[in-house]
Amino acid sequence: MNEKFLKWLDGDDAYFDQVLDSSMEGVPSRETLKAERRAITNAIVHSPRSRRAVAAGSRTLRYLYYVVAVLSAVILIGVLLYCVSGLPRYGQENVRADEVVERYVEHGLEETGAVNVVAGMILDYRAFDTLGESHVLFTALICVMILLRRDRKNMDSRLEDYYRVVQDRYFDTSGDEILQGVGLILVPCIFLFGIYILLNGHLSPGGGFSGGAVMGAGMIIFCSACGFERVDRFFTLKLSSWITFAALSFYSFAKGYVFITGANHLENHIPKGTPGAILSAGLILPLDIAVGIVVACTMFGFYSLFRRGSIGGN
């Protein structure tokens, strides 16, 4: 037993493959997997229909595409370099930035009501940037969905069946006893901790992005430990898209109201509370929750799309 274990450890898979192939029922061996994949690729990529589609693209359009791509890249680089050249040199004192920094540090607590000045900055003084950032996350999820989704429309059904049934089962980690035991104990703790970081964004370090990242990591770990069937019970495409949409629109409308009243020198009656209490700092707590939800759904959406090509299962 010892020698065989050492041989496997050194990379000699022959003994291990025998055990592996005989104990996996219903899953074909490595050679059949490779042969099948090669056959499917040949049938799809080298078929006459796809050959005709590749040859039919006109040449002038392709050259035009290259020229326009290079030109737009050069223009973008030029514009950005011109903007950067207006900044002061590295290491010099910047009087304008110092004024802003002093204002944030000294009057941050009384103007925003948040003990954590960083959270007050990103969600109160510069909330517009955070709005754009959450929308960028949502856009990234949409782009990954366009590229990686396994549909009847953008993937041949043979390839889809091959990936869904055979390859995913081969690399599945969900039945592992150690992983499942540890996961079922630790995942509630990770979720609880993520919610704690989210809710305490204005009092102690943390906030929306950190809490959302921790919750997303917790979801990924739960999915790896317990398989996709248990996750599909509560995380479907409909739920995910509705709550991301709700969170982003809540953020937009609430901050839109604050911007409009602030720009016209009106009073927006959002209470600031006492600094240090959990229900304080105006709108920072609800906005933290919205941003955290978007980040968590995005992280788990990425993982689900990478693994099996769809968010809610089919």
Binding site: S23, T173, L179, L184
Partner: protein, 108 residues
């Protein structure tokens, strides 16, 4: 030698020692001919990172850095387990948890 100086010496010695050990583990993770060597080396590096963060939280007298250490321990532990489970591919019959177990018990 006052008590504060002794504490500073202890913390600084521990931090530098941990940094040197991290460098050694990094060398092992680059050299090691097998994948399992590298997975072990990364596990040890993450343990030493957690120890450094806890020592730093006492050294700089900031209490909230313990939160960082907690998160790091939980997530990196399970992440290394997932790496090992992906690398060791064997048949794993799914353990019945939750509803299916209850149904089985009721049938019996």
């Amino acid at each position: 030698m006052t008590l504060e100086n002794a504490y500073t010496l202890l913390y600084s010695g521990a931090l530098i020692y941990l940094a040197v050990l991290m460098a050694v583990m990094m060398v092992r993770s680059i050299i090691g001919p097998r994948i399992t060597d590298r997975i072990l080396a990364v596990n040890m590096i993450s343990t030493m990172v957690v120890a450094s963060i806890v020592i730093l939280s006492r050294f700089l007298e900031e209490g909230y850095l313990i939160d960082v250490a907690l998160i790091y321990v939980m997530i990196s532990f399970v992440s290394i387990l997932i790496m090992c489970a992906v690398y060791i591919r064997r048949d794993r019959p799914k353990k019945e948890t939750g509803k299916k177990k209850k149904e089985r018990r009721k049938k019996k």
